[in-house]
Structures are given as structure tokens and as C-alpha cells.
């Protein structure tokens, strides 16, 4: 069949999308790509270095450690926040004034800016003037996030759990509200246990919101910067130095723009890969056998 082309004006209609995508994603990303394959001194003095920076980044043991630390951190907070968020959602009241009150209370941590969260916990955890720190020392625990790596880790994790569990809880709460009452009635008729109700009615209906929740929390936690920077500055030593902070140290602290750019690209690809693997696995699990 021959299609007669009248004119090509339709292309103008997709132009805005091209422009937006170009300016929001492609051009900034290409800048990074540019830096990652060249050694740039000034706009007129630059040398093509090929995969040099990538090799350097891949072999950097400090970055290996930061990457490991980063994975450990992301999985820890996910392992805590997801179950905890579901529990909170299950316990939140569904009717009356209690429901609105619970929603507001749960949502409060989400409204606080990142650097303020860091500051809050920095003070909260101090043994001299902080409530948490003072409480820990009063019960005889030698707690000091500024000098002890374990305590620093604990504080950073606790801070994130406090800050972001509400997001999972709210997502799950909305998911739970969407389950029709008749499912619970049918389950009672079928003599299902509380666990069976959760496992076969609530959890399946929460899958979709949980996918969004886990993806959001993984990406955000994998890129975490502000809170640990304010709270511990990456220390003690480099025990709470995560990938973003390493990147910033490299790019702004040492002004090694080449390796930093290569690092950024690898960083970006890791996040993309993990999200893709996670999403495809979940989707495959849901498919009809």
C-alpha cells in the first residue's frame, strides 16, 4: 500500500517534547559524557583520553568501599522501612477523627527539608544536649556518633528510617484503603487466619504501591547526600561516606572533573540497572504461569 505524504507538519507537534527531553536529559548528560572521555584544562586545551578515567574509577579502592557501603546502607534501610511502613499502615485507624490525626502525624517527617533533618539528628544524638544521646548515656550505653563508626551508622540509618518510613506507610495506607470490604468478608467466610488475610489479600493488593515505594526509596537512598553530610560529614574516618559524597569530594574538593564524570556515569548506570532488575523480577513474578 502506498501512503501519500501530504506534508510533514505533524513533526512540529512533537518538537516541544524533543526540546524538553534534550534540555532536561540529553544535553546535561552529554556534558558529563564529554568530561568523562577528555582531560579538559580550559575550553581550548583538552585531550581525548578514551576510557582512561573509567579505568581509574573502576580501580579506585576508596570508591569500591563507598559503593559497598552504599549498597549495604540502601538495603538496610529498605529492609527496615518496608516492613515497618506496612506495619504502621496496618495499625493506622481508618475511620473518624483518629484517621485524619494519624495521617497528619505520620506525614510530618516528610515535610522537613533534608538538611534540617540532618541538623535535628545532629543535635538529637549529642550526649550533652541531645535527648537521644543523653538518654543513651543515662542508661549506660557509650554512644557517640562522632567518634564511633557503629554509632554513626546506627544514627544515619535511624535518621533515614525516621524520615522516610512515613512515605512507605502512606503509600501502603492508600493501598489498603482501596481494598473492597467484601474481600475481608469473603476471607472470614473462608475461615482465613489474620496472617492469611495479610498474605493473600492485603499484600497482593499492596504490590503496586510497594513497587513504587521501593523504587523511590532505593533511588533516593542510593543518592543520599545531605543528611549524612550535615550529621557526620562522612565520618568518623570514611565510615559514613557514601557514593554521592565521594563524588562531591572528587568533583568539587579535588576538582578532578574527568574521573568524577566517569564516576557519575557508572553511578547512573548502577541505579538504572538495579531498578530494572528489580522491576522486571517483580513483573515476571506476577505473570500468569
Amino acid at each position: 500500500m502506498q501512503i501519500k505524504v501530504e506534508n510533514n507538519k505533524a513533526w512540529f507537534l512533537v518538537l516541544p517534547v524533543f526540546l524538553i527531553v534534550a534540555f532536561s536529559a540529553i544535553i546535561p548528560l552529554m556534558t558529563v559524557v564529554n568530561y568523562s572521555v577528555q582531560d579538559i584544562f580550559d575550553p581550548y586545551t583538552r585531550y581525548f583520553v578514551g576510557t582512561e578515567w573509567f579505568k581509574q574509577v573502576m580501580l579506585d579502592s576508596r570508591l569500591h568501599e563507598a559503593l559497598l557501603r552504599q549498597f549495604l546502607y540502601s538495603f538496610t534501610i529498605l529492609a527496615i522501612e518496608v516492613p515497618l511502613g506496612i506495619c504502621v499502615a496496618l495499625m493506622m485507624p481508618t475511620k473518624g477523627r483518629g484517621a485524619s490525626l494519624a495521617l497528619i502525624l505520620v506525614a510530618i517527617p516528610l515535610l522537613i527539608p533534608w538538611n534540617v533533618v540532618g541538623t535535628i539528628w545532629q543535635i538529637f544524638g549529642r550526649a550533652d544536649i541531645g535527648l537521644f544521646g543523653a538518654f543513651m548515656s543515662s542508661i549506660g550505653v557509650d554512644y557517640n556518633y562522632a567518634s564511633d563508626p557503629t554509632d554513626a551508622w546506627l544514627t544515619v540509618v535511624l535518621m533515614d528510617v525516621w524520615h522516610w518510613t512515613p512515605l512507605i506507610a502512606l503509600l501502603c495506607y492508600s493501598g489498603l484503603r482501596a481494598i473492597p470490604e467484601v474481600y475481608y468478608q469473603a476471607a472470614r467466610i473462608d475461615q482465613a487466619s489474620r496472617w492469611a488475610v495479610f498474605r493473600y489479600i492485603q499484600l497482593p493488593k499492596l504490590t503496586n504501591v510497594l513497587i513504587i515505594g521501593v523504587l523511590l526509596r532505593f533511588m533516593d537512598s542510593f543518592m543520599i547526600y545531605t543528611e549524612p553530610f550535615v550529621l557526620t560529614g562522612g565520618g568518623p574516618g570514611s565510615s559514613t561516606t557514601f557514593l554521592s559524597q565521594s563524588l562531591v569530594q572528587q568533583a568539587i574538593g579535588q576538582f578532578d572533573l574527568g574521573p568524577a564524570a566517569a564516576f557519575s556515569l557508572v553511578y547512573f548506570l548502577i541505579i538504572l540497572l538495579v531498578c530494572w532488575v528489580f522491576y522486571t523480577t517483580i513483573m515476571n513474578m506476577q505473570k500468569d504461569k
Binding site: 468478608q185 469473603a186 472470614r188 467466610i189 473462608d190 475461615q191 482465613a192 487466619s193
Partner: protein, 384 residues
């Protein structure tokens, strides 16, 4: 399997009920016998689903008791009552396979796996789901999902009764018919008490041996489809059952010396003398008369016993025609058989005495020796 007795049962959703209208279920006593197939028929909002949920235990009645085989079960939770309930919208456990869905109620009560297997296969066979057992329930069509919901009620040996809450609402018309037949078969095979809630009289009469007609939170009549048709105990039954419903008109009891007559305007409507005596004894002056369109006699020619009325219009419904006529200013309907001549202009109609029903305050007035079907034991449940 059990007989279900509702004893002085009433239910209200308000905290301080003061008038009868506050009750979703007005005080009623009713028995569903063991092994019967019953329909609970009524318009939306008449309390059908409320009544069903009270039987299954999902709702606690405000007053009265629910008895299974004479044992009070008010305090028992639904899971302890051994009741199966199929809801309007199919409920399946999405992530499970069809097999696991059917096995679910059995596994919940700890039935050994080999028994689960044989029972599930048996039920799947009956419901024609055998080739779907390995599929995830999520991907099933609406009617298959509804079959799975029903199947979960059938796998258990211990169910006292299966309650259906308008289960075929979301099913396509052709499949509706098939599933209804399936239910009927299952009923014959298992001999379980079944209560089927619907607002569709055809569905009710094809499924059930006996139909309870519900209106404003009360069961106004409980009888076979034929009884409901021939002898409606309440004006609502006359109106709701049949298509079109019963013709109703108000008549007055007038005394002329010793003799009583029932007058509709200046027309005398003939009823038995026993009925006239009964009405007089009741002191009822105003009565409602009802006659089914099927029983209105349309005369071809002039007839001195018949009333002279004006034809309004004739509706052709394919196999039969519905004649609308004006009788003393009131529109009434008569059903014409296929071969009957289509009348026009002025015609003559008469109301056979045996099919002219008399209602006082919406309830049927019966005179035992004058009833047609000789069913003297039939009770008319008065709920209030």
C-alpha cells in the same frame, strides 16, 4: 446442612430507632427449611443483603435471634458458622492459582492435603474449571471468577448453607443462564440449603422452590412462584411479580339496606358474599382490589356482565400483546393471547370473581371457602 430460623429478628443501622422506618429489617420470624432452594426477592434497598449478612454473621442483628437447627448462633462469628457466601462481585485471591483458591477454605481448617486434592478436583469438575486449575485466578474472566467464588463454598463438607448475594449481576446474559442451571444442579446434587438474593423475578423463580418477597424490611410473602403469581399476599407482591404487574384500584364498600356491594365509581365489582361479609366484619370501608392482566377477560362483543371501557393503546411484545384501557379514568392493563383479535375504540372487559383479590391496608383478605387453590394452610406473614 441446617434449617435456618430467624426468631423475632430485627435490625437497625441507627443508634436510637424510634419509628418502624428506622429499621432495615423489621421484626420478623421466618424459617428456611433444611435442603431447600430459596430466593429472597425484592427491590434494591429493601434489606435483602442486610438479612443475608445477618444469617452469615457478618452483621450482628439489633434484636432477635438466628438459629441453625434450633441452636442460637448470634454470638458465633461468620468463620464459626460454617456458612458459605457468594458475593455480588466475584472475590478471588489474585495471587493464587485456581486450585489454591478452591483449596483455601480447606487448608484454613487444616484438612490433609490428599483430601484437599480430591475435593478440589471434584468441585472443579462440577464447575467445569478442571482445565483452569493451574492458572492464576487474576487472569480469569468474570464468570470464571464467580465460579471460583462459588467453588470455595462447595469444597467444604461442613457447610450448613450457601448464601448468594446477587451473584450473577456481573455475568453476561448467556452465561447467566448457564450458571443458574449449574447452581440448580449443584443444589440437587448436594442437598444444601441455599438462599439466593436477587431483584430479578425470573432469576428467583428459575432458581428457587420457594420465594420470599421482601419489601421495606419485611418478608411480605413466602411461597412458590405460582402462589406469588396467583395469590399475592400483599399489594407489593402483586406489583413486583409479573410483567406487567397487577392492576390495582380503590373500591368502596357500600351498604344498600341489608346488602353490601363493592363499588368502583358507579361500577359494582363482584366478589363472593363471604368476602363481603368478612369486609363488613372487619369494618373496612375502603379496599384495594387487584387483578392480574392475565386474568382480565376481554370480550369480543357486547356483554351485559362486562364493563364498557375505552382502549388506550396496545403494546405488541412479540408472542403476546398488552392492552391498556381506561376504566373509570384509571389506566389498567390486560394481556391478550396471540390469536386474540386486537380491539380498538370501546370494548368490554370483566374481572372473574376468583381472580379479583381484595386488599385492606395492603394485605390480602382471604375467605377460606372462597380461595381458589384450596391452600388453606398457607400463612400470610404479617411482620408488624
Amino acid at each position: 446442612m441446617a434449617a435456618i430460623t430467624l426468631n423475632a429478628l430485627a435490625h437497625t443501622y441507627t443508634d436510637n430507632p424510634t419509628k418502624p422506618e428506622d429499621y432495615a429489617i423489621r421484626e420478623m420470624t421466618h424459617v428456611w427449611e433444611q435442603g431447600g432452594a430459596f430466593a429472597l426477592l425484592g427491590p434494591s434497598g429493601c434489606g435483602k443483603s442486610t438479612l443475608l449478612n445477618i444469617i452469615s454473621g457478618l452483621l450482628k442483628p439489633s434484636n432477635g435471634e438466628v438459629l441453625f437447627d434450633g441452636k442460637r448462633v448470634n454470638e458465633l462469628k461468620p468463620e464459626e458458622r460454617n456458612i458459605a457466601q457468594v458475593f455480588q462481585f466475584p472475590v478471588v485471591y489474585d495471587t493464587m492459582t485456581v486450585f489454591d483458591n478452591l483449596a483455601f477454605p480447606l487448608r484454613n481448617i487444616g484438612v490433609p492435603e490428599y483430601k484437599v486434592k480430591s475435593k478440589v478436583y471434584e468441585v472443579a469438575e462440577i464447575l467445569e474449571l478442571s482445565d483452569q486449575l493451574k492458572r492464576k485466578a487474576k487472569g480469569l474472566s468474570a464468570d470464571q471468577k464467580q465460579k471460583v467464588s462459588m467453588g470455595r463454598g462447595l469444597v467444604r463438607d461442613d457447610v450448613s448453607a450457601i448464601l448468594f448475594d446477587e451473584p450473577l449481576t456481573v455475568i453476561d446474559p448467556q452465561l447467566k443462564w448457564k450458571l443458574r442451571r449449574k447452581l440448580k444442579q449443584i443444589h440437587e446434587q448436594f442437598n444444601i440449603t441455599m438462599v439466593y438474593v436477587t431483584h430479578d423475578q425470573l432469576e428467583a423463580s428459575t432458581f428457587a422452590d420457594k420465594i420470599a418477597v421482601m419489601y421495606n424490611g419485611q418478608i411480605v410473602q413466602f411461597g412458590t412462584p405460582r402462589e406469588l403469581f396467583e395469590n399475592p399476599a400483599h399489594t407489593f407482591v402483586g406489583y413486583f411479580i409479573g410483567s406487567p404487574g397487577m392492576n390495582f384500584f380503590e373500591a368502596e364498600l357500600k351498604s344498600q339496606g341489608e346488602k353490601e356491594t363493592l363499588m368502583f365509581g358507579d361500577h359494582e365489582i363482584s366478589v363472593s358474599n363471604a368476602m363481603l361479609a368478612r369486609l363488613k366484619a372487619m369494618g373496612a370501608n375502603k379496599v384495594t382490589l387487584g387483578i392480574r392482566p392475565e386474568f382480565v377477560h376481554v370480550w369480543e362483543g357486547k356483554n351485559s356482565d362486562a364493563f364498557h371501557v375505552d382502549v388506550d393503546y396496545v403494546e405488541d411484545l412479540g408472542t403476546y400483546k398488552i392492552l391498556s384501557f381506561l376504566f373509570h379514568g384509571q389506566v389498567m392493563k390486560a394481556r391478550l393471547s396471540e390469536d386474540q383479535k386486537v380491539p380498538s375504540g370501546q370494548i368490554y372487559v370483566s374481572f372473574p370473581e376468583q381472580w379479583t383479590k381484595v386488599y385492606v391496608d395492603d394485605y390480602l383478605v382471604e375467605v377460606t371457602d372462597a380461595t381458589v387453590d384450596n391452600d388453606k394452610t398457607k400463612e400470610i406473614p404479617h411482620a408488624n
